[in-house]
Symmetry: C2
Subunit: 340 residues, 2 copies
């Protein structure tokens, strides 16, 4: 499929990853909004989520919102594997498809840091904000670069992927790879049956039980539950590459902000290292990034508050799909940005 | 595979089903415990759950427990599609495999009623008790035969399958049928890749988030999370026939105690018709049969109480896997049986 390129690429050259594998020419896709001021102190970094494209983050950026391009220089940075940054689908042989290396949460943030410092010359960040896997990157930014990051706002995410969350991801992985057309990653054409299968499994996890009970998919313009499963879920994942999805599942399943030489697997130490002011915003009915996990984290960060999104939209409270949750998140970001 | 037959069969002969299809010789598998007394008034009916065999219900039956064979004549009845009652796997051509007809909740209970009345000559039932889809059958018994059923104890189930529960089942169905070996039901050998895929998806749904957080699979004797996914989940579903699983998914997805000529889709009317004394026992952390759905039902049954199983074992609070939940359920059944 052809797609208008609406983002920029920062080339990192030969890049050795955390697990010892090498990407010959790693690339970070990004897009900026607003202007970097002369002091370079109006910066917001906004990493993407699982399978999200650069443009999928834009709902939270607008004049009058917290992320107002008139006030801030906002940089959306794409996680590796999203199809725009280096991914199985866009990497040259021999590192393509099933041979794409395993990318850690640490890799993502260290490479994003290179973009921010080497390319833009930025030394201070007002806020790192992100949803879901984007939230995990925000935590990682906070503990790897505590002198640089003034605030983080992870929403519907966690500092370390919880075991149940890992199991949920085993399920979507199994659903995708049950399709023979996947062929252990060496497909010529995207395995659409497996992608549709993954999508249907995901549908139960993404939104909450009361979301379905109250048929809130109607608010998204769908005519029936089946129409929602096809028109929202299958449509979304059919636009993604199977190997990309699997690469990002690996990153997500293994996400742990302490899994690096600075913290050696000590999550409490990593949380403790976050000097930033933190608003952690879980979705009240999120089925895999749970409020309980965030409650535990809060105790170990020196300057963190828990702000629970009062929503029955499940994990997708954080996807900009409904104006009430969007306003709630935006108001909290405004408060966080206004605080010192 | 060969398997010792540890149950009996009641043959119903030519049987027209609710949707107009016919089974030439429908069979209900069942097993009894204890003795039917002369008054035939010591009867407990205990239908099986999704993919459960007759023997899978036995954990709740023992001397000293509520379901004590010294006191009661307990009849485990197998739901259609479980592989022991009429199922895609055991029905002769041409009604086998993918041609096995769609079985409703109503069909199950009407045919069980024939076993209870025609074969045993029973006119009163002290209790109908069941877990999950077995609970759904208990509700159906209560509203179809209100003069006959004195008590029902549905645990971890609902009178009508909730929309989110339906979506969860779409997911496991998609995970199974993504396997080409399934071949639209016309396989020679059970599609094991699809069964393993279904099992991995199910793993996230069957137990709760805190179950995994606290690694309670250790209490079941597994050495690691992966060991649990393979040794508990994949093992369980590899012993099931794919078409049987799909037949029962259809029954479950469409389960509604009011979807029959008596109630014409009016669930409130159907709930209202249940004269039995009812203890509804949802699992506090069940992810698909939700407390909230039972709370709504309670309002519409004349003599019902909600008793929430205080457990982090999710849906599997009702599977007899841990002594605390088993004792809790058993104590409530004792109280219910002792009440008038």
């Amino acid at each position: 499929m052809t797609k208008k390129i609406d983002y920029e690429i920062f080339s990192l050259g030969k890049t050795v990853l955390q697990n010892g594998e090498t990407l010959p020419d790693a690339k970070i896709a990004y897009k900026t909004y607003g202007k970097l001021n002369d002091e370079k102190n109006n910066v917001i970094v906004y990493p993407t989520w699982y399978s999200g494209f650069c443009s999928d983050n834009e709902w939270l950026i607008a004049e009058g919102m917290a992320l107002d391009p008139n006030n801030y220089f906002i940089i959306i940075v794409c996680a590796l594997g999203n199809g725009q940054s280096s991914s199985p689908s866009n990497t040259a042989e021999p590192y393509n498809q099933a041979r794409f290396p395993s990318i850690t949460l640490y890799d993502n943030v260290v490479l994003q840091h290179r973009l921010i410092t080497e390319h833009f010359g930025i030394k201070k960040i007002k806020l790192v904000v992100g949803w879901s896997m984007g939230a995990q990157q925000a935590y990682q930014w906070g503990c790897l670069y505590p002198e640089m990051v003034e605030r983080i706002a992870p929403f519907c995410g966690s500092a370390k992927t919880a075991p149940h969350n890992f199991v949920f991801l085993e399920g979507i992985k199994a659903a995708l790879t049950a399709d023979d057309a996947w062929n252990n990653g060496w497909y010529q054409k995207n395995p659409t049956k497996g992608l549709r299968s993954l999508a249907r499994v995901y549908a139960g996890w993404g939104f909450s039980q009361p979301f379905y009970r109250h048929e809130l998919w109607k608010e998204l313009g769908f005519s029936s539950l089946e129409d929602f499963l096809v028109g929202f879920w299958e449509k979304f994942f059919l636009l993604r590459d199977a190997n990309n999805l699997l690469a990002m599942i690996w990153t997500w399943q293994n996400a742990d902000i302490s899994d690096n030489p600075l913290f050696n697997g000590n999550v409490i130490k990593a949380l403790n290292a976050i000097k930033a002011k933190v608003f952690v915003m879980p979705g009240e009915t999120d089925l895999y990034f749970r409020v309980a996990d965030n409650e535990w984290e809060i105790k170990h960060m020196p300057n963190a508050e828990l702000r629970i999104i009062p929503s029955i939209w499940g994990h997708f409270a954080g996807d900009g799909l409904n104006p009430i949750d969007t306003e709630w998140i935006d108001n909290n970001l405004k408060e966080l940005l206004a605080s010192t």
